[in-house]
């Protein structure tokens, strides 16, 4: 079943076209990757999905409901959660309070603070932030902030989770932890749309990948197809990546 579909999505900023006639469909339950060079319009596309920017042209549907013209908070309550690229935690609040906001306002159900708190603690334990729940935001590390972003999105009980470069700035071990966690969320039935520069991660977790270049879709397919797609290599991946990838594969084969 289709969970999210976009038809001919276009976004103009003044004279600049950030996203140009992009079509895509995301199946329920899949992990859908979105890659492309900087300024390709990936984050803009995400902003169109959750309504931060109004759509200039085209249509978008979530589980059959038209999203055009809805405000971000309405879209969130339909079941689309989002973790931001640059961590946008509320700085003057504790870790717990940050997640609590999502729990209180992010779902259709109206909850009292006690219930919200319980859910919050559950989610914090899930992402491994339980011991740090009373820390203020400036006191936790970047990796923890990424986890916090994830927790804030998860607590809203989303059907579709948008992850915007949550891996950026993490080391290999942390990336692997986070990949594991994303798989776990996905197994619980949450569809995930992920934007990522860390190729290893995006190649490793996505079922399908879409490549954007200057606002246009240039490829869509399985990770393997993408990695071999010549246009993608020309515009995005580059020779060294292919070489390195080959070396890595050769190495693991040898092992």
């Amino acid at each position: 079943m289709l969970i999210l579909e976009g038809h001919g999505l276009t976004k103009n900023f003044g004279g600049l076209t950030a996203v140009h006639k992009v079509d895509f469909e995301i199946q329920e339950g899949e992990i859908f990757g979105l890659i492309g060079p900087n300024g390709a319009g990936k984050t803009t596309l995400l902003n169109l999905i959750n309504g931060i920017f109004p759509i200039t042209q085209g249509e978008m549907f979530f589980l059959g409901q038209r999203l055009n013209g809805l405000k971000p908070h309405q879209i969130t309550r339909l079941g689309i959660g989002r973790a931001f690229q640059i961590v946008r935690a509320f700085e003057g609040m504790t870790v717990k309070e940050n997640v609590l906001v999502g729990s209180l306002f992010g779902t259709k159900k109206r909850k009292d603070i006690g219930t919200g708190m319980k859910e919050t603690e559950k989610i914090l334990d899930f992402v491994g932030l339980g011991p740090k729940k009373d820390y203020m935001i400036p006191e936790i590390t970047i990796a923890d902030r990424k986890r916090l972003e994830l927790a804030r999105a998860l607590v809203m009980d989303p059907k579709l989770l948008l992850l915007d470069e949550v891996m950026a700035g993490l080391n290999t071990r942390e990336v692997e932890d986070l990949m594991e966690m994303i798989f776990k969320v996905n197994r619980q039935g949450v569809t995930i749309l992920v934007i990522e520069h860390v190729m290893k991660a995006v190649m490793g977790i996505s079922h399908r990948i879409m490549v954007l270049h200057y606002g246009r879709k240039i490829a869509l397919g399985s990770p393997k197809e993408i990695a071999e797609n010549e246009e993608v290599i020309k515009c995005y991946l580059g020779e060294r990546f292919v070489r390195k990838e080959a070396e890595r594969k050769g190495h693991s084969r040898a092992k």
Partner: protein, 322 residues
């Protein structure tokens, strides 16, 4: 290093409250008026705190609701013979309603644009007040004197302002612990992120401003009756607005008791300076403000929380220095 335990704070606070409750029986007229004045600024700082401290919208022209409340009470009492109580309630609600109406377009503005819009709104209201006959224009309005002599008036306004302040504190306390409070703070720190987390900012911002306007309007109305004369220049002033921010920031932005502490501190210090230095009071008050801002940029509440010590003070200075 001065550090007081939680119990100590409760004792100090309780004692102070008891003192305030009994003060009219212990003190002479001037001190009662001074305290009443402190309460007034306490309420004003607290109401600014709701919109600016919690919700992050720096409504520098918040005194516009003060003027509005004062004029509603004045006009209703003199021209339509309303009782004070009724007029005051209308003033509070009127200020709230007005904030909601103008809030819809203005609360969309961000940062300095919002600051400026509220200031312009205050100027606009002043200009309108000057030009409509029912307010007496630039001549001002004189209100009936509170019946029953000096002592009765002192008692009445003292306890009235005190009650209003306690009401404002309780209200802020409730907000800080409720859904509203979380929504306000989320909006303050990142409005886009808040809306992605399911908060519709518009109604929450409007509510915050309406609550703030409600208290400011009530204070203005009480002030008009208390002073028994107002004119537009007195009712709509920029300087008290700035002073309210000073109080809020010194006490602690976004804390329940901070603005009240700040208000008490500033009013008390200015009173001392005023009384002692006839020719130099601006200079000395200015110096004190400058030093306080340099040494406690995060407010007293923060300082008390971290404990008062010289090295902490210096660390605060170092942090903000270029």
């Amino acid at each position: 290093m001065v550090k007081v335990s939680r119990k100590g704070w409760l004792l100090i606070g309780g004692g102070f409250c008891l003192f305030l409750l009994l003060a009219p029986f212990l003190l002479r007229g001037y001190w009662i008026r001074l305290l009443t004045n402190m309460f007034m600024f306490g309420i004003l700082a607290e109401s600014v705190n709701i919109i600016a401290g919690y919700c992050g919208y720096l409504a520098l022209g918040n005194m516009l609701f003060f003027g509005l409340g004062a004029y509603i009470v004045a006009v209703l009492m003199t021209k339509f013979a309303f009782s004070f109580a009724l007029a005051l309630i209308i003033a509070g609600l009127g200020a709230s309603l007005f904030s909601a109406i103008v809030g819809l377009p203005i609360l969309r503005l961000k940062g300095q644009y919002f600051i400026m819009a509220t200031m312009a709104l205050m100027e606009l209201l002043r200009a309108i007040t000057n030009n409509i006959p029912i307010t007496g224009g630039g001549q001002g309005i004189t209100l009936p004197i509170f019946p029953g002599g000096a002592a009765a008036a002192n008692f009445f306004f003292y306890y009235f302002m005190f009650g209003l302040m306690v009401f404002a504190i309780l209200c802020t306390f409730y907000i800080s612990k409720s859904r509203l409070g979380y929504a306000f703070r989320a909006i303050r720190f990142d409005e886009d992120a808040a809306s992605v987390m399911g908060i519709n900012p518009t109604p929450y911002k409007t509510i915050a401003w309406a609550i703030s306007a409600f208290f400011t309007g009530l204070t203005g109305g009480t002030y008009a009756y208390w002073m028994s004369y107002i004119d537009p220049g007195e009712a709509y002033q920029i300087m008290p607005s700035i002073k309210m921010y000073l109080m809020m920031v010194l006490g602690g932005r976004g804390t329940v008791l901070g603005p009240i502490t700040g208000a008490f501190f500033i009013e008390f210090i200015s009173e001392l300076v005023w009384g002692k230095f006839l020719e130099l009071h601006f200079l000395i008050l200015g110096l004190i403000l400058v030093l306080v801002v340099i040494f406690t940029p995060k407010g007293f509440m923060d300082l008390l929380r971290r404990g008062l010590s010289f090295s902490k003070l210096m660390a605060g200075v170092k942090e903000n220095r270029v």
